[in-house]
Amino acid sequence: MATELSPAPSGLRQRLWAFYDSDLIWSFRHSPMAILSAALLAIVAFTSLFAAWLMPQNPFDITQLYLDKANLPPIWIEGGQMPYLLGTDLQGRDILSAIVYGSRISLIIGVASVALSMTIGVLVGLMAGYVGGALDNFLMRIGDAVMSIPTLLVAILISAIFRGMLPVDYRDAAAPLILVVALSLTSWVVYARMIRAATMVEAGKEYVLAARIIKVPRRRIILHHILPNVLTAALVTATLNLGLAVLAEATLSFLGVGMPSAQPSLGTLIRIGNQFFFSGTWWIVLFPALQLTLIILAVNLLGDWLRDALNPKLK
């Protein structure tokens, strides 16, 4: 029954090997779509992280903008100039630099809002699912109320309330934070419902009963026993929702309630470019839009792969 043949793995090297050898990584190595998406996201993340060194211009710094370089077309079209590979906009802003800096803002807001909404959702779901009764009813009806209004409307409302409360000088600086809060307060319900259902399943399992018999405190049962077993589902949803969050941020910025023109996210760039689309300077809107599409596509493909890879029924 018991064997001493396979000693338990220990040490960093063995752990790394175990990780490399795991089902998840195997599945990753055998999915070209996942590798492609991950590579694309890695490039976007890398360029936006080191944008200050890689890009010819900081588009947020007015001293680096030259009006005589305004409205230049991309480099392969006659009239294009180095170093403005994708051309410039009305104010002489390099489109490529603006895209990379804009992606940084979009990704930071997306990741932060997903992290915040997941944290809220997981905590609410764990409490509602494990404690049940009146608390469950209360929390879930709040969730229903949030879900019954279109997400963007709620986000616009929250965003407007926060902006109204702040002095004018701070509005632009606080814009990313307001966006993160607005997006999180509208998207935690998905996590809460899912985690609640998973928690109710786990809470009925016998390992939880075993802990209850020896009177392990409720908080410890929830955090140590149940949370590790329901978190996988939340992480998959988080990956899938990252695309949605980036898109929602772009929509808000496009509508003018998100990031201001001085710190453009991809959505802001598309809004600005949209005004010039019919005057012939199509590159101002097309390239940010392409970048947004690529990011969302890559995130969604990666999320799809992760969902399938972690679903034991599909193995």
Partner: protein, 337 residues
């Protein structure tokens, strides 16, 4: 309470409210629905013995198991453990579960699973002492020290059940509630686990409350058996007496369903019908719709529990006096022809 018994149960009942939500009830004018999972059960478990409760699914036997370890609180009646080392001055009760796949947290290493009760009850101080105790417990159930480093998924069902037993033993229990401990295991492994449990009982003087629907397991492992039907005990007797001479028609039917290697084609009365719903149980003796000997009185009056001098208790208006002269044997003979 007699000093000889580890657990005394008096008129124990546990009802569950399974009504529809309040609004639905008001709108559709539905009454409250109460599920009487356990409804007036009394028995006592002698120290160091194995007391088995058998019955079909839904008869309330698992509810009794959960009541015993405090996962449910009784609606009515009492459950008194003898004095022991537990926090409340009573015997420490622990549970061994039915499903070896759900009873171990899949994200915890085996050594942490076994160490949890030791930490929680403060039975050992210091990491080294806890580790030593875990190793000792693994050895007791026939696992190696290195198995403690693994996760539950690398073990088979029988090995997991050993881990589950080690976790239960970690609390240094005096009373073990075993809820169908072998029903999810292969037949070949069932005997191993049962024998391990019996060895541990001898070694530590444990008292077992064994819940099962498997009469073969019960006959092998228990000293006394209580047969439950719809939340009540219908017959209770020492094991061999019950098997040799069942007096309640339901017990008789249960025993008749056991396949017999020596007489595979023997005439027997198959167990007919389904267990009625415990939400709306039949009047009088709840077994009457399935009972071949039901009379008018059975439909009206619930039979009281009658104790005899041999340690048998039975709740039936017309107990089968002996197996040979029972009308059932006559029926069987007719159907065999």
């Amino acid at each position: 309470m007699s000093s000889q018994s580890a657990l005394e149960v008096q008129d124990l009942a546990r009802w569950f409210d399974v009504s529809a939500p309040w609004l639905t009830r008001v709108l559709e004018r539905k009454p409250r629905r109460i599920l009487k999972a356990v409804d007036g059960v009394s028995f006592s478990v002698p120290r160091g013995s194995t007391f088995a409760i058998v019955g079909e699914s839904g008869c309330g036997k698992s509810t009794i198991a959960r009541l015993a370890v405090g996962l449910h609180h009784p609606t009515r009646g009492e459950m008194n453990f003898a004095h022991g080392a537990g926090r409340d001055g009573r015997m420490r009760a622990q549970m061994i579960f039915q499903d070896p796949y759900a009873c171990l947290n899949p994200r915890w290493r085996v050594k942490d699973i076994i160490a949890e009760p030791i930490h929680e009850l403060g039975l050992r101080r210091g990491a080294a002492a806890v580790q030593a105790r875990v190793t000792e417990l693994l050895g007791l159930v026939g696992l190696a020290r290195s198995d403690g480093e693994k996760y539950p998924h690398s073990f088979s069902g029988g090995q997991r059940q050993r881990i589950s037993i080690a976790r239960a033993l970690a609390t240094e229990p005096e009373f073990l509630v075993c809820d169908e401990p072998t029903s999810a295991l292969d037949v070949s492994v069932q005997a191993q686990i049962l024998n391990l449990m019996m060895d541990l009982q001898r070694e530590f003087g444990l008292t077992y409350l064994l819940i099962s629907h498997n009469l073969a397991v019960v006959r092998h492992a228990s000293d006394q058996i209580a047969v439950m039907y719809l939340g009540r005990i219908v017959e209770q007797a020492p094991t061999e007496m019950l098997f040799r001479n069942p007096q309640h028609p339901y017990t008789r039917l249960l025993i008749d369903t056991i396949p017999d290697l020596e007489a595979p084609n023997r005439a027997r009365q198959p167990l007919a019908g389904e267990v009625p719903s415990p939400i709306d149980p039949p009047s009088g003796c709840t077994f009457h719709p399935r009972c071949p000997y039901a009379q008018d009185i059975c439909r009206q009056v619930s039979p009281p529990m009658a104790h005899d001098n041999d340690g048998r208790a039975i709740a039936c208006h017309f107990p089968l006096t002996t197996a040979r002269t029972s009308p059932l044997a006559g029926l069987a003979a007719v159907s065999a022809n």
